[in-house]
């Protein structure tokens, strides 16, 4: 007979932090390299500018920056973190994983460290895993990071992708709910996949560029995802009309607005960070959320719906309470 660890009735996000590279790339700059225009990009994708990492700036660098900020904001010390999860699908090399390096550079002696690849749903997947670990007693305080350097996988002559993708990182510190009167701060994840659509968004191999069949992805995202969003609310026991904010993966402003129209939460503040951040895959949700909190746009304790979706196709979402 084996023993099991004892966990806690719920987990919560304690703090967040975000990082964006300093280099700003405007639509006008891109229009000097491919046939497009500022006006076209703004109307089709919603982006005004995006951030691109320096050539020698790595996914790990960005993860450390965002993770460090989240840790500093959490009030915990590096010694308190016992699990590090980095969601990424654009990391330079598989071995060693990013999480162990991030842990080492932040001075965390982490017993657990792994990278998670669920493309642009990565943060929601990693958050769900972190919550489960805390609830099961596998970990007490988890650093969850979404970090991506999509720019190193972009064909800068392909105007269907080079206008969209960008670089950045967002991180959250997840810990136990210790107040007996408070409920869980991370709701049940609703996740799934459509592997039959593997050919809609992909990077073929280490020497290839990212490819996306935009029209098909657009149609899928604006039809298949709002039921997932509604189910995530239902499982968390939240009515969509109670949501303070809705933070979908910042794929494309038209997709964001298309899904938002259908979830039945007209009062919710909808994240539109893509406008000045571009599409940063698994970094987009924590980056948007950290900025909205910094700007004081979401009250502490208010319910927020997160919804990630991306290449795979994989998707996942959950309701959280804002730290």
């Amino acid at each position: 007979m084996l023993n099991l660890t004892e966990g806690t009735p719920g987990a919560r996000i304690i703090a967040l932090g975000g990082y964006q590279p300093t280099r700003v790339v405007t639509n006008d700059e891109i229009a000097t390299k491919v046939e497009t225009s500022d006006e076209w990009i703004r109307s089709r994708v919603g982006i005004e500018s995006r951030r691109i990492a320096a050539p020698d700036e790595t996914v790990a660098d960005m993860a450390v920056a965002a993770g460090g900020k989240a840790l500093a904001a959490s009030g915990l010390s590096a010694a308190d973190i016992d699990l590090v999860i980095v969601a990424t699908c654009t990391v330079e090399a598989s071995i060693p994983n990013t999480a162990a390096q991030v842990a080492n550079r932040l001075g965390i002696s982490a017993p657990g460290a792994y990278d998670l690849n669920a493309a642009c749903a990565g943060f929601c997947y990693a958050l769900a895993s972190a919550s489960d670990a805390v609830r099961a007693g596998t970990a007490r305080s988890v650093l969850v990071v979404g970090a991506e350097k999509l720019s190193q996988w972009i064909d800068w002559t392909d105007r269907s992708t080079c206008i969209i993708f960008a670089d950045g990182a967002g991180a959250a510190v997840v810990g136990p709910v210790t107040d007996p009167a408070a409920g869980p701060g991370i709701g049940p994840v609703v996740w799934g996949s459509a592997g039959d659509m593997a050919d809609k968004i992909y990077i073929k191999d280490r020497n290839s560029f990212i490819f996306q069949e935009g029209q098909t992805v657009f149609r899928w995202a604006t039809t298949a995802l709002y039921p997932v969003a509604k189910l995530a609310c239902e499982r968390a026991g939240i009515d969509p009309t109670d949501l303070a904010a809705f933070i979908p993966h910042q794929a494309n402003l038209r997709i964001i607005e298309g899904i938002a129209r259908k979830i039945g939460a007209p009062q919710a503040l909808v994240a539109k960070d893509i406008v000045t951040s571009g599409n940063t895959s698994s970094a987009s949700i924590p980056l948007a959320l950290s900025k909205m909190l910094e700007r004081g746009e979401i009250a502490s304790g208010a319910p927020v719906l997160l919804l990630g979706f991306g290449g795979g196709i994989v998707y996942g979402g959950q309701v959280i309470t804002a730290p």
Binding site: S43, R44, Q215, T216, F218, R219, T223, R254
Partner: protein
């Protein structure tokens, strides 16, 4: 039960108003989506999806690209509804 062209036009007007912000009374059969109504291909996909919800008629991408005017869509919906 067959829908009249007018019924389809009214439904389409509501959809286009919601998706593209074009007032329903400006949606007349002769208008082209791209030039007259300033509706781009992404909005066309949303309109096709909404039309599927409203009329029960699927408009796949390869058919959608040939529908240039409001009347083209009305004809497509009417034809597809009959054969359903």
């Amino acid at each position: 039960m067959a829908m009249t062209d007018q019924e389809i036009l009214t439904g389409l007007g509501e959809i286009i108003d919601e998706v593209a912000g074009v007032p329903a009374d400006q949606v007349t059969p002769d208008k082209t989506f791209v030039d007259d109504l300033d509706i781009d291909s992404l909005s066309m996909v949303e309109i096709a999806v909404a039309a599927q919800d409203k009329f029960g008629v699927e408009i796949p991408d390869d058919q959608l690209k040939d529908l240039k005017t409001v009347q083209d869509v009305i004809d497509y919906v009417r034809r597809s509804a009959v054969s359903a």
